[in-house]
Symmetry: C2
Subunit: 227 residues, 2 copies
DNA sequence: CGTCTCTTTGAAACGCGTCAATGGCTGTGG
DNA sequence: CCACAGCCATTGACGCGTTTCAAAGAGACG
């Protein structure tokens, strides 16, 4: 669980990594604990050490949109480095987790002292921006089955290898979560997963999903759903 | 047409503005001319002086998604200040236009010399990121009529005042453009605009739209479409 | 003045959301 | 340790908003 190896610390000498880590305080989270709500003043920059966070937005009528999941090495609240006043998304632990926390003032000091660290954080934010644009594309042009297949493969890319070529998604995830990730309903997700399970593409238990045939899933992106 | 008054130059002393402007070269565009295609190496930072650019993405199958329109004072290609390698969206002039162009090296030099300028550019980019997230929300939760009303009001906010309380959208815009902005088809847009024109909410001629009753349009956001 | 682009309107099909009802798994408290 | 209460998942039927396809009209440009 060595955060200092992650892409946020790429290109930094060991002494810089040590100095930056020295500015952080660890914080423990229980499952379903809220780390920071969307719209709250952005006072702290976080990096996940253990466990997973769910980063999501809530619409006025209570519907949830999951932006992404953050696992070990992933940052949350990078916008404090850009001087944004509030968090654009909420962060909640989906399982017991441990995060490192840097106060905004500390981030100011450290980014000034280590420009490469600032560049890495900004880089990460830029990636999330292009991700958001890509998502608008997908929402506009693709069917639910295509988006769901894409989402599963994306989650599987950071998953845990199982027997054979199977990969299990690294954190607990419900049908509702998958629906909130792909902008659909849990019913449609359930129907698709049932069908794909019959085809041997995936396997699932309550709160967990494994990908058995990633090549077959990839086809579902190109060829919507015919049968 | 004084760019130096825009929000990109907020908080900068006059001499800094002059120094920054001195680093730019003007460039003229004809209607429908492509300034930079999505995916091309990000070598230049632009600010619109006259006219309007259409910033859009194209999906593999040729469908277009318009991210936004950029008018006088609006930047394009701010990601060069973040060190991103390529443009995430294409920029094309929708009418004859004039832009200022800074080469990447010049941007490096000027942002180092004037940190406030860098902060303004980053600020702008952060806004576009939250915009993209908001758009995902809208695409997921709202009907076409709501999104279209929202889009028209957004465009009208930068429009040209006409007789009475009418506001004309500042640049040429087709039904297809509105469809690409709201992620729908030109047919659905045409139907909605026809109905709203009967209700006296808008007026339109080929390639142009005016908002006559912005309060009435705003209602269409909250109350989808009943009649 | 012809051609091309933009627009309108209708009719039909379809994907997916909504609603309803049921069943299974999990963790907690008696 | 068992049982109950919640949460999560499944499946079917139905309806509705939009897309799709087709065909024709109208304005703009060279």
């Amino acid at each position: 669980v060595d955060i200092a190896q992650g892409r946020l610390f790429a290109g930094l000498p060991a002494e810089a990594r040590a100095a930056i880590l020295a500015g952080a305080a660890p914080r423990l989270l229980t499952a379903r604990q809220m780390l920071a709500p969307q719209g709250a003043p952005a006072t702290t920059f976080y990096v996940v050490q253990v466990g997973h966070l769910k980063l999501s937005q809530f619409s006025p009528d209570g519907r949830e949109i999951i932006a992404r999941f953050a696992g070990p090495g992933d940052p949350y609240g990078g916008i404090v480095a850009l001087g944004q006043p509030t968090y654009p998304v909420s962060a909640m632990a989906v399982e017991p987790a441990r995060v490192l926390a840097w106060p905004a003032a500390e981030v100011q000091r450290l980014t000034a002292a280590y420009p490469q660290w600032r560049a890495n954080i900004v880089q990460e934010i830029a990636r999330h921006m292009t991700d958001a644009l890509d998502r608008v594309q997908e929402l506009s042009n693709e069917r639910v089955s295509q988006r769901l297949a894409r989402t599963l493969l994306r989650l599987g890319a950071h998953g845990i290898p199982r027997s054979g070529s199977a990969v299990e998604i690294a954190h607990p995830i419900t049908r509702q979560d998958l629906a909130d990730l792909t902008s659909t309903t849990l019913f449609t997700v359930s129907r698709l997963l049932s069908r794909w399970e019959e085809l041997g593409l995936i396997a699932s238990t309550r709160g967990h999903v494994s990908i058995l045939d990633s090549a077959g899933l990839r086809q579902k992106i190109d060829v919507p759903e015919d049968e």
